[in-house]
């Protein structure tokens, strides 16, 4: 399971972040004593209700999105969640907080988490594996309809996970968490330096204005992005997301400006309706 390994490469929390997490987890009764050190990793089951995810009830209590604040919210089997539950997540994802209004009272819960989702190709999970898939056309349509919602629009990275080959399974490990954590910490340091004075703390939180001001592309990259956009391989929102991801790739590689290769990698990690973006560029 790839997603479960994300906490092992995330940078450590600052003291302010750790205190905020400790406060919320203490209120929710999830925490023994002292300061929470590890970033939260919340993986609710797909039967969760909208108020369980974003908060609610009487009296209103924080939901999983708030418990995952400064950490990771992992939604496994994304297509099995209720549509209303996933839609409830849209505004918290965009704003970094959710306002729960019940009767006369309005409560604001912070929801600055990293959303990680995983899903199967079809309801039975065997799509593409020989002829083992038993899903009908209607099942497949229903499945893809749930996924193609506005939620996918808010994903910076859309990746297809292929079955590893036999050689790969027998081969050596490609990386370790310790090495990856070091690279991640280095990239975060560059972001902190560049984004000093902005509301955004990392590339994933940059809005359009910050992107325009801080993300600079090499000429070849600029041309490739323009081509991908002109041929319609990217939406306007998709273009914005590609720029953010390209900046992170440049930060990981230590590039001052986004290179052509950085941009192509970013395009290839956004395999949606605009799957041909790489080819177009």
């Amino acid at each position: 399971m790839l997603a479960r390994r994300i906490p092992s490469i995330l940078p450590a929390m600052s003291r302010t972040e750790a205190i905020e997490v400790t406060r919320i987890h203490s209120i929710a009764g999830l925490h023994a004593s002292g300061l929470v050190q590890a970033r939260p990793f919340r993986a609710p089951h797909h039967t969760i209700s909208p108020s369980g995810l974003v908060g609610g009830g009487a009296p209103p209590r924080p939901g999983e999105a708030t418990l995952a604040n400064h950490g990771v919210l992992f939604l496994d089997e994304l297509a099995e969640f209720q549509r209303s539950t996933l839609d409830a997540l849209r505004q918290p994802l965009e704003d970094g907080c959710v306002t729960i209004v019940r009767g006369q009272r309005a409560l604001v819960f912070p929801t600055r988490f990293m959303l990680v989702a995983a899903t199967n190709p079809c309801p039975c999970g065997f799509a593409g594996v020989g002829d083992r898939c038993r899903c009908g056309e209607a099942d497949l349509r229903r499945h893809s309809r749930r996924l193609s919602g506005p939620l996918l629009d808010r994903m910076d990275l859309l990746i297809n996970v292929e079955r590893p080959t036999e050689q790969e399974l027998r081969g050596p490990a490609q990386t370790s968490s310790a090495r990856a954590r070091e690279r991640v910490a280095h990239a975060r340091e560059r972001q902190r330096f560049r984004l000093a004075g902005c509301a955004a703390r990392c590339n994933g939180e940059m809005d359009a204005r910050v992107v325009r001001r801080h993300v600079t592309l090499e000429e070849a990259a600029e041309r490739a992005l323009a081509r991908a956009y002109t041929v319609g391989a990217l939406s306007a929102r998709g273009r914005h997301r590609v720029l953010r991801v390209a900046q992170t790739i440049a930060d990981l590689a230590g590039h001052g400006r986004v290179t052509h290769a950085d941009l192509l990698t970013a395009l290839s990690l956004r395999q949606r309706g605009d799957a041909d973006a790489t080819l177009a560029a």
Binding site: S26, G55, L107, T119, D131, C135, L157, R163, A180
Partner: protein, 240 residues
């Protein structure tokens, strides 16, 4: 006689200042709690009565009225027990009432008079500092957590008797030692490691990028390679 003591209600994830006022008059022995409390606050009466008696104090056989102010704020949970009990003791002259001025009190009581572990101590400590109070009494299990707030004197006590002694001027017990592990390291060692993954070069790269930039990501298991083996001409991604 009237006593007033500060405590905090947790509203969502924020602390709200609450005054516990206890008034004791002559009359039929009753104990009433007003101020929009939930069932746990109403049941607090019986816990407070037993805890006081079992801690070697005397529960006054008089007309006791406790008010949780402000009255419009809904109070939830058993965290007001200790404040109510100390309020009763102060109003009946069993602990010095003037000592309560600088203190905030938080914690659930058991019938035996022990302070039980209560969630939300850090939020209460933040509220106490914001309200300009200097000292806070919390259950001993939560003392380390409350001590994360600087500029506040924390008394982590395990019984109502000890809490009353702290109010009487006895020095509070030292904070329990925090299990000291360097941030991140000990926790990371127990986690599953990326070194266990074989293959999956692109997803690994995506994971690292997501972590480095705080990007949302969605992975789909889609065996492209196998799909090419599906019956020729089929445009469905999922052959039957």
């Amino acid at each position: 006689m009237l006593a007033r003591i500060a405590t905090f209600a947790i509203d969502g994830i924020d602390p709200r200042h609450v005054w516990v006022e206890v008034d004791i008059r002559s009359g039929l022995p009753t104990f009433t709690i007003v101020g929009l409390g939930d069932a746990a606050v109403r049941e607090s009466r019986d816990r407070v009565r037993s805890a006081i008696a079992n801690s070697g104090f005397e529960f006054p056989q008089m007309r006791i009225t406790a008010n949780l102010a402000p009255a419009f704020l809904r109070k939830v949970g058993p965290g007001f027990d200790t404040a109510l009990a100390l309020g009763v003791l102060a109003a009946s002259g069993q602990v010095p009432a003037e000592a309560l001025n600088d203190y905030a009190v938080f914690g659930e009581l058991s019938l035996s008079g022990d302070l039980r572990d209560s969630p939300g101590a850090l939020a209460v400590a933040e509220g106490a500092r914001r309200a300009g109070l200097g000292r806070l009494i919390v259950p001993r299990e939560r003392a380390c957590e409350a001590a994360l707030v600087e500029g506040l004197e924390i008394a982590g006590v395990s019984t109502l008797r000890a809490a009353a002694e702290v109010l009487g001027g006895v020095a509070p017990p030292p904070l329990p030692a925090v299990p000291a592990d360097p941030p991140g390291v000990a926790a990371a060692a127990a986690e599953p490691d990326l070194a266990d993954i074989r293959g999956h070069a692109a997803p690994l790269l995506a994971l690292e990028i997501a972590a480095a930039g705080g990007h949302n990501c969605c992975s789909r298991a889609r065996p492209e390679r196998a799909r090419r083996c599906s019956p020729a001409g089929s445009r469905r991604s999922c052959p039957r």
